[in-house]
């Protein structure tokens, strides 16, 4: 019996880390393939026409008075032939809407559109003749999904793009993302690499240098982002099994979203839930579709640097995952849903969702062992340590190596050395505590907790004068 448990634990960790290793290595191969003389296919400025689809950028804003103007101004500077920005003020209690009206000199107007998805009532729509591609919707509070749904209704363009108000986008991000839609027919959703902006040096609105954050938690998250959110996702994309697109930046075919009924308002992880629902709908109706990940950096976001915010964020993410998988549990092991139902979702269920429980129990088991008199199975303890911690370090290190090989984003060698050191540190405590937070997330989910919590933001303006 003890043997069975022990072998079970070892197998679990071995397979978990092996899958991650596989994902990282296959992403690296895939990225290298793409990068070899990628500028052979330069999109000539001469042939524009219908290759470019029109894009609506939706910016849901709740109490963002502090940086909403800066965000919108930077969005207005994006390089793309035809796009619009729709800011949705989700019943903010601060002066978000007043600042917008003031700064852009907006006037109240009406637009003719169909209320395809239901949402909280709209109080007013504002535009200005000077900036024809900016629209501001003022509505009653309903949450991020609700705000996005309002934006989707008003949009009249081919694609909609949902971003967080504090994401910073590269100027050519839309041009880059459209390549995914052009290269793969029937693409209905796409995401890209989200990078950590804490620690970068911004001068005159240009990102001059890219460095790892200064703080302990920031650095840990940098390694984590490389492992899980960069190469993890590219790997899944390579296997045509992408299940998650970051909420910080995602782009969707508008008609496809309307077909599935928009974002779900009562879900905590609305971004994951939407993707799964898209998979579900299109697989069921047997229509050709593609959900892809662009292996290029497109968006910068601020990561939480204090313990409480980070804990809440991870708790929320895990609740979101639990909620999304639970809603679509009919897809699990169901051949109608192909690879997604038979492989990907079960993987996420066992390794991502329930995984933390197993991890935590394993450590508890280990702890208990020390109190059993006469227990001499050193081999188990050593093996356990090897497959969980050592193997984990290998995967983290390979992610850092892959980042160096594929992108060389970081400006100095010192950054890589720091990341290397943190690859070790990450596995000696952080991932374990992270699992603990995730278990709390599951408990909260079962209890029915739906809140978002607050993240204390430093604001990226703080970094810009360094």
């Amino acid at each position: 019996m003890i043997q069975a448990i022990e072998w079970g634990i070892i197998t679990y960790f071995l397979s978990l880390n092996s899958v991650y290793l596989l994902l990282v290595i296959s992403s690296l191969i895939y990225i290298r393939q793409q990068m070899l003389l990628s500028d052979v296919v330069k999109p000539s400025s001469l042939f524009k026409s219908k290759v470019y689809k029109t894009i609506s950028i939706l910016v849901p804003a709740y109490n963002e008075a502090g940086n909403i103007i800066e965000s919108v101004e930077s969005l207005l500077r994006l390089e793309y032939p035809e796009y619009e920005i729709i800011v949705i003020n989700d019943g903010s209690s601060d002066e978000t809407i007043e600042r917008l009206k003031d700064h852009f000199k907006l006037t109240k107007t009406e637009l003719f559109y169909k209320q395809s998805i239901d949402h909280q009532p709209v109080r007013g729509i504002y535009k200005t003749a000077e900036i024809p591609n900016l629209t501001v919707i003022d509505k009653e509070n309903g949450g991020k999904s609700d705000a996005l749904n309002a934006g989707i209704n008003v949009s009249d363009y081919d694609l909609v793009c949902s971003i967080d108000a504090d994401s910073i986008l590269e100027q050519d991000v839309l041009k880059k993302l459209i390549q995914t839609f052009v290269r793969h027919k029937d693409t209905i959703a796409a995401g890209g690499i989200v990078r950590v902006i804490n620690g970068c040096k911004i001068v005159n609105r240009e990102i001059k240098e890219i460095h790892v954050p200064d703080g302990f938690l920031g650095r840990l998250q940098s390694v984590e982002y490389l492992r899980a959110f960069l190469f993890g996702r590219v790997g899944w994309d390579y296997l045509k099994s992408l299940l998650i697109i970051s909420g910080a930046f995602g782009i969707f075919d508008r008609k496809a979203i309307l077909e599935v009924g928009g974002y779900s308002v009562d879900s905590v992880g609305e971004d994951i839930e939407l993707i799964i629902r898209l998979h579900s709908h299109f697989l069921r109706s047997k229509k050709e579709y593609n959900i892809r990940f662009l292996p290029e950096p497109i968006c910068w976001t601020e990561v939480p640097v204090d313990y409480k915010s980070l804990k809440n964020q991870r708790n929320r993410w895990h609740r979101g995952l639990a909620d999304s998988l639970w809603r679509h549990k009919y897809m699990l092991f169901n051949p109608t849903y192909g690879r997604i139902g038979l492989l990907v979702m079960p993987f996420f269920l066992i390794f991502e969702l329930i995984g933390p429980i197993i991890i935590l129990l394993s450590y508890l088991y280990l702890g208990v062992l020390f109190f059993i008199p006469g227990y001499t199975s050193i081999s188990f303890i050593v093996l356990f340590f090897a497959v969980s911690v050592i193997y984990g370090m290998v995967v983290s290190l390979i992610s850092v190596l892959a980042e160096e090989i594929a992108y060389k984003t970081y400006s100095s060698t010192k950054d890589i050395l720091i990341l290397t050191a943190y690859s070790f540190i990450e596995n000696m405590g952080y991932r374990q505590i992270h699992s603990f937070w995730q278990v709390l997330g599951i408990i909260d989910f079962i209890k029915g907790n739906k809140s978002w919590g607050n993240m204390r933001r430093e604001g990226f303006k703080v970094n810009s004068t360094k």
Binding site: N204, R205, E206
Partner: protein
């Protein structure tokens, strides 16, 4: 030989060098080059150049925004401003002239033509 101060805001290395050579060869202008829109704009606001050559795709602040701000200010309402850009579609050119640029030169261009246009523009003041 025409005299004066020219400020060029252009982030492409070779274009910058090329324009510098042209000015050294053909005109006796004081030449200042900036590669970031915000820096260039700040300099212009603290000095009074006789001619400004602006690229459009710039880091910091793009050419159209700079042009708009300059034209809205008293000091530079009438300064000679030339837009120089690889963006050559008619809507961009239209926008440039709508914002009251004095000239819009698209890349690629001919050096001789460039010189002739500048001469014509400076003589008109």
């Amino acid at each position: 030989m025409l005299k004066g101060n020219v400020v060029v805001i252009e982030d492409d290395e070779i274009t910058g060098i090329l324009i510098k050579r042209i000015f050294e060869r053909e005109f006796k202008f004081n030449f200042v080059l900036f590669r970031n829109g915000l820096e260039g704009l700040e300099y212009i606001q603290n000095n009074s150049p006789s001619l400004i050559i602006l690229d459009i795709m710039l880091p910091g602040k793009n050419g159209f925004e700079i042009l708009k701000e300059l034209r809205e200010s008293e000091a530079h309402k009438n300064t000679k401003i030339i837009l120089l850009s690889a963006k050559s579609n008619s809507s961009d050119i239209e926008r440039g002239f709508d914002l009251s640029a004095d000239e819009y030169i698209t890349k690629p261009f001919q050096q001789q033509e460039f010189v002739v246009r500048i001469r014509k523009l400076m003589r008109a003041s």
